[in-house]
């Protein structure tokens, strides 16, 4: 029987496949429904926050920053309450990261202000003198892609039934409505900023990447 398998490439491949697929079937699939249940009161991301998440993904912040606080005293002292599975229910993709060259960001919204982020993204060493993080000055000039962020929100609402447009929740509406809402959100953040280009852009109705990114940072709590 064994030798027959060794000489029949097709059945051999089937055998290999069964053996390697087994772990995935047992480990991953059956847990799916349970792990994706949101914690109580969790709201989906607003369009502006999603646009900020796009910036986070585009510049690949997960290369250095995690979003996962492990249940150790040393971590909860440093970053706050340890992370719960249900807090990530609307994260597509998850952004836990695997390396902390910089600190964890899962609850950064609790302890950093717009002002802090603005200075830090413009020049990290001005806030943290020994920092090795690069400056992200291009976030102050590049315009955030609100259309794509809306497309993402619309997609998760349609395909995965993410609860947008429910009472007391986050309103999505049409593209135009979403743009207006995003701009209103952006104005609040820009009011706390001092960079003139950013302020001007928001007045013109454009949202620089930095504003979206800060909105996303504030959302992480």
């Amino acid at each position: 029987m064994f030798h027959w398998l060794e000489k029949n490439p097709f059945f051999f491949s089937v055998g290999v496949f069964v053996v390697i697929a087994f772990a995935g079937l047992i480990e991953i699939l059956p847990n799916f429904a349970e792990a994706s249940r949101p914690v109580l009161g969790l709201k989906p991301y607003t369009v502006l926050e999603l646009a900020g998440k796009e910036v986070y993904k585009k510049d690949h912040c997960i290369a250095c920053h995690s979003q996962l606080i492990r249940p150790f005293k040393s971590e909860t002292d440093r970053y706050g309450m340890y992370s719960l599975s249900g807090e990530y229910a609307y994260d597509r993709p998850f952004l836990w990261g695997s390396k902390r060259t910089g600190p964890d960001l899962h609850r950064v919204g609790n302890y950093r202000t717009t002002d802090w982020h603005e200075n830090h993204m413009w020049d990290p060493t001005s806030v943290v003198p020994q920092s090795i993080m690069p400056a992200y000055k291009h976030h102050f000039t590049n315009i955030a892609d609100i259309d794509t962020a809306y497309a993402e929100a619309f997609t998760v609402k349609t395909v995965f039934s993410t609860p947008y447009d429910i009472e007391g929740g986050v309103k999505l509406g049409t593209l135009d409505e979403a743009k207006v809402a995003a701009l209103a959100e952006a104005k609040v953040i820009a009011a706390d900023m001092k960079n003139q280009n950013v302020k001007d852009a928001v007045t013109r109705g454009e949202i620089p990447e930095i504003v979206a990114l800060i909105a996303y940072m504030h959302r992480l709590k």
Binding site: F2, H3, V19, F22, I26, P30
Partner: protein, 75 residues
């Protein structure tokens, strides 16, 4: 039955089954060599004598040049 429980049973029995197969395979490897049915170590020579003109360790009967080869099929 709850899905978790099912998962555990499936996992346990399939793992036992595979371990069983693996040991069976070990026995098969040594026994077939001892009984002289099949010398597994000879397959190592597939890498050493791999010129296209070298005689295969075991010729594939379905091969293209079935007609023109002189060698016998060792089966």
């Amino acid at each position: 039955m709850e899905i978790r429980e099912l998962q555990a049973y499936a996992n346990f029995f399939f793992t036992v089954f595979l371990v069983f197969l693996l040991y069976g395979y070990i026995i098969h490897l040594y026994r077939s060599e001892k009984k002289g049915e099949r010398d597994y170590e000879q397959y190592a020579n597939i890498a050493l004598n791999d010129e296209i003109t070298d005689a295969p360790v075991e010729r594939n009967p379905k091969t293209l040049d079935k007609k023109e080869k002189g060698g016998k099929i060792d089966e």
